[in-house]
Symmetry: C2
Subunit: 280 residues, 2 copies
């Protein structure tokens, strides 16, 4: 099954474009759970496992962010690996690794995330050049999501500045990705921030068939209406990520589980105007 | 002790600018060692431990590349952590992580590499903006080495192109780093490729006090003479990295240990014309 087929099915069966981002921080895990588990790595695993359990009927994808696991060292990596096994195999699993390195190093990462851990997709940083993406591009079951115009304010420092006659470095990168994309290869998607809607049109036009991983809705304050408008003519599929807004919705409340569920349903509902285009 | 003091002492006591890069690949580890150890993570640890043992009188710094450890999952991380403990505390320890992420994620990485693992320095990718560097900049005992103009050919795709009226995006980044550098903060160094000597002058001038981490000599073919010329007027200290040329110098030979030692001495000797400026 190609990545696009798997994504389409997952969206169909959940009727949702929501991706739940897993950014576990020990100090923000609900007190009732923290009281039960004293080991940090075990705790972040159990927290994420429950989040997956609660949200999976309503999320087409899950995106664990490696940094939060690596912060705990080897036990954190073990927690990450165990977590990969509890995410349902019919959902899209995006390893948010933001790696970007040359040939032999990229080969190692590709091996780790795609071959050994079974991720469907990985986020990559293109700064060191297109050759850093090539080791990942040989498998149509997989996708990469390249950082193109991220949701943070620092995107203005380099990505959003004019480059080679284009409106932005982001637009230039999108063009290069479009050239690199061939029929049966790995899908080359883009990470674009919901906070950047007003500057996204040229970027999307430059790689119009690209699936999109979209952070910035929720805690970061991106507008759904503006996002919907800019996506109107885009041919790729948007996956809308929410991390902290969902997973910490019930911070320290006894009934945190129902609060997480309610926030998830609210999010899914709020995405409906965008979702309708992609479900039957 | 500040990072610069520690680096200066390490160069003084080894009379060397050599940094040994630790990029362990199971299939390239000498047969005699492979025969003894069947567990991959244990094998890469033991190989690196011996490389450190052999080369430490002649290397001012060591640079383990995270990717090669992460490829083995949690046991690989354990090997990496164990390795951090065998690198002598009077040598510079650079975690080659190439991370680049926003606020809360960067905080996690800073915690992992500086506070928990005790690295003296980390390599960072600046693509997502200057805010991704800020969490690392509060400690004068530490340094970051920012990817500015890397040694790979893909540097031509984005880094080496004109940007905001500068000769390159690299020059622009160097300028921004120079502005961000304040007296008692973390030292903001740069990664610049020895293969890029002809384009480095404007980059070095833009951040002239910056220590440099320089890959590209050895397997990648950068010229020492050209490098020496471009460093003549630079005020920061160059750390010259060699990974594969040294660690695989004795590939599959019974006497691989003496071959690694000889290659290390050759390298150190070849750097002498550059080293003289920095030793008493």
């Amino acid at each position: 099954m190609t990545f696009t087929e798997k994504l389409t099915r997952s969206i169909q069966s959940t009727q949702s474009l929501l991706c739940v981002g897993l950014d576990p921080v020990v100090s923000r895990i609900p007190q009732p759970l923290r009281e039960k588990i004293s080991d940090d790595a075990e705790l972040i695993f159990e927290f994420c496992r429950r989040i997956v359990e609660i949200t999976k009927p309503h999320a087409c994808a899950f995106k664990p962010n490696l940094a939060f696991f690596e912060a705990l060292g080897a036990p954190g990596w073990e927690a990450f690996e165990k977590l990969m096994d509890v995410i349902p195999s019919n959902r899209i699993l995006i390893a948010d690794a933001k790696r970007g390195d040359i040939g032999n190093t990229a080969d190692k990462y590709k091996e780790a995330f795609f071959d050994r851990l079974g991720a469907d997709a990985i986020t990559l940083n293109p700064f060191m050049g297109l050759e850093t993406l090539v080791p990942y591009t040989k498998d149509e079951e997989k996708a990469v999501f390249v950082l193109v115009m991220t949701s943070n304010s620092g995107a203005a420092d380099f990505m959003k500045r004019r480059f080679e006659g284009r409106t932005s470095l982001s637009e230039y990168i999108a063009e290069e990705l479009s050239k690199l994309q061939t029929g049966s290869a790995t899908h080359l998607g883009m990470v674009i921030g919901a906070t950047q809607s007003s500057d996204l049109q040229p970027v999307l036009s430059a790689h119009s068939s690209s699936h999109l991983l979209i952070p910035g809705i929720g805690t970061q304050g991106g507008s759904l209406m503006e996002l919907q408008k800019v996506l109107e003519t885009h041919k790729g599929i948007p996956i809308i990520n929410s991390s902290r807004s969902i997973i910490y919705a019930g911070e320290n409340h006894e009934d945190w589980i129902s609060m997480v569920l309610n926030r998830t349903l609210e999010m899914k509902e709020s995405f409906k105007p965008i979702t309708e285009k992609y479900v039957v």
